[in-house]
């Protein structure tokens, strides 16, 4: 009995002293106290130095929390329990949050730095007049390929994917909108097309792609491509930049027919308790030098046109990630097609997947 009491007492003492250490570390970092701001962002999606700088400039301490998928973030915000002051959903999640009244409208008079954002990326279909959101990063869907293994295949058109040379050597991301959209684009239709005959055509075309497809995979596509398990893959540009960081033999291209344009956006959820600080933070992130530093750290494309000018030329001049206007004009944002149409897209995509061996 005595030894039991001793053991449990020492466990409690150890954990309380550890708690003390944590509290001390927290306060030395300024994480506790009233003047805070809770930011909910994707993992590794900000330069930590910027958080320190924001704290120094405004005296507001940022509590930084991360999530790994839009769905996870949505659930946490919907349920409440924690007050997130700033969150960073992708555009389709943003549309959903708007529908479910989970967002506070932004006060544009408190966001003077909005003028630095490229007007191409403002006032888009998922959030007219940027009532609820400002863009954080953007990107495209395109093709990562290994020039050595795909010699003679021209990826300037989506049709390059159908080249018989790529037999059993192509990876696709597991997304109905992405893959159906790519097929629609290759037929010169909009990737928001709701015409059932067009969609059927897209499916027929996809089924012809089947012999080339090695696998339809999730996040592991990055690792597989970087390890040269396949000669080419259809991925998001953010993933592409990471893959190319790991393996510089690879290249990325957005085909000429057009493609998807995606956004991650800063919003203020309804549960926010520090609305003023949230505006300050969003405004701070739109400051050109901040946006530039962040883009350099994260590696995604910044929508901040004045920030882009501050980037080293080899980044801002990289047409793969900052495509020229001939291509950006053809890029499309996913519209919210409604539940039924989305189900139809999923159904067709599933048919395609079943078609694969």
């Amino acid at each position: 009995m005595k030894s039991l009491v001793r053991v449990f007492l020492s466990i409690f003492i150890i954990s309380f002293s550890l708690m003390g250490v944590a509290a001390w570390l927290n306060s030395s970092q300024g994480y506790s106290g009233g003047n805070t701001l809770t930011v909910y962002n994707w993992g590794d999606y900000i330069d930590p130095e910027l958080l320190e700088r924001f704290q120094k400039e405004t005296g507001i301490t940022v509590i930084y929390q991360t999530f790994d998928s839009n769905e996870a973030m949505l659930t946490k915000i919907e349920q409440g329990g924690t007050s997130f002051d700033v969150a960073v959903p992708s555009e389709y999640a943003l549309a959903k949050m708007k529908q479910e009244h989970l967002l506070l409208p932004l006060d544009h008079s408190r966001l003077p730095n909005l003028k630095h954002v490229d007007s191409h990326f403002l006032n888009l279909s998922f959030d007219p007049d940027n009532q609820y959101s400002v863009p954080y990063f953007w990107g495209t869907v395109g093709i990562v390929f290994n020039p050595e293994l795909t010699k003679g295949v021209d990826f300037h058109s989506w049709d390059g994917l159908w080249d018989p040379k790529l037999r059993n050597n192509l990876l696709l991301v597991d997304g109905a909108r992405e893959i159906m959209g790519m097929s629609l684009n290759s037929l010169h239709y909009s990737l928001n097309d709701t015409n059932k005959a067009h969609l059927q055509q897209a499916l027929t075309k996809l089924e012809k792609l089947a012999p080339n497809v090695k696998a339809v995979v999730g996040d592991e596509i990055k690792m597989l491509l970087a390890n040269e398990e396949a000669a080419a893959g259809v991925v998001w540009s953010g993933d592409a930049s990471e893959i190319m960081d790991q393996n510089d033999k690879l290249d990325y291209i957005v085909p000429d027919e057009g493609s998807n344009l995606w956004f991650d956006n800063m919003v203020i959820p309804k549960t926010a308790t520090h609305v003023d600080a949230a505006h300050k933070f969003i405004n701070f992130m739109m400051q050109p030098d901040v946006a530039a530093q962040n883009a350099e750290f994260v590696g995604y494309s910044t929508p901040n046109k004045d920030g882009k000018k501050l980037l080293p030329a080899d980044i801002s001049g990289d047409e793969r990630f900052y495509p020229p206007s001939e291509i950006t004009d053809k890029l499309e944002v996913y519209d919210n097609l409604g539940k039924r149409m989305l189900a139809h897209y999923n159904e067709l995509f599933l048919q395609f997947k079943m078609h694969l061996k």
């Binding site: 039991l4 053991v7 466990i11 944590a22 990471e242």
Partner: protein, 273 residues
């Protein structure tokens, strides 16, 4: 016979290789200056420096340890009481029902426990953070503690208690001087089981964290979206070495205790029966 033995040994070696290879692989690359996991370029301690410089990560590690220690200690204490209560139950039917309810909680998927806790806490208006994580960890550890302690109780001969009572021991004496010492191995086993469950729990914790409070499993998972950085390898290596140290320490303490007391060694090692 010797042949048979060799086959057995080989099998054992293969099993251990499979178990340890990923960990060794991970440790090896934590020293890679190349920054990725596919080509080893040179030796560096840079990622270890990064770990120690990252205060936020260290706070998260401490959080994880505090939650694990506190929740498993509290859960063990609650579990002792629960096991005693179930053991003393006279009605067979009620006793079996309680036991099955306890077992259902163990096999219940973590995701469901996590989601229901999230709903409960938000409905009750409890702020998500340290306490919500602690409470849910205690909750899923209690059944584990109970199931580790009960077998020891059932093993105990009832005449032991009777004899103590006959010799004039009070109820409290019986509990503290007879029962608890007898079930001590079960208690330790329950505690360590709960500790490991709590340390690596992701599903439940993910649902109930909030307000900047995070544990290691949740943090590593959300960082993995950008590819796991080698500093995570470095941290994992440190934690692994720390666990090895704990196990070795535990082994020596037990050996010393055995030499002094000559108690049942198997039970003392915390092997559940």
């Amino acid at each position: 016979m010797a042949n048979k033995n060799r086959f057995g040994n080989m099998y054992l070696v293969i099993v251990f290789l499979v178990l340890y290879a990923p960990i060794l692989y991970l440790m090896y690359y934590s020293f890679n200056s190349g920054g990725t996991m596919h080509k080893f370029e040179g030796f560096t301690l840079q990622y270890y420096k990064e770990v120690f410089a990252d205060t936020r990560l260290i706070i998260i590690v401490i959080n994880t340890l505090v939650i694990a220690l506190l929740s498993s200690a509290l859960a063990t204490i609650i579990g002792i009481m629960g096991a005693l209560a179930i053991h003393q139950m006279q009605n067979r039917r009620v006793k079996n029902t309680l036991l099955s309810l306890n077992n259902v909680l163990i096999v219940n998927p973590d995701v469901i426990i996590g989601a229901s806790f999230l709903i409960l806490f938000t409905m009750a208006g409890i702020k998500l953070g340290f306490y919500s994580v602690l409470l849910s960890h205690i909750a899923f550890s209690v059944p584990i503690a109970v199931i580790m302690i009960l077998p020891r109780l059932q093993e105990m001969s009832p005449s032991l208690v009777d004899a103590a009572r006959d010799l004039g021991a009070s109820r409290l004496d019986v509990l503290t001087k007879v029962i608890l010492p007898f079930i001590k191995p079960g208690i330790y086993a329950g505690f360590f089981m709960a500790l490991t469950y709590s340390l690596d729990d992701f599903a439940v914790t993910f649902f109930v964290t909030g307000s900047g409070y995070s544990t290691l499993s949740v943090e590593i998972y959300s960082r993995a979206r950008q590819g796991v950085s080698l500093s995570i390898n470095a941290l994992s290596t440190l934690i692994f070495l720390f666990t090895v140290l704990l196990v070795v320490g535990y082994y020596f303490i037990m050996r010393k205790a055995n030499r002094n007391g000559k108690k049942e060694p198997a039970a003392e090692m915390g092997v559940p029966r």
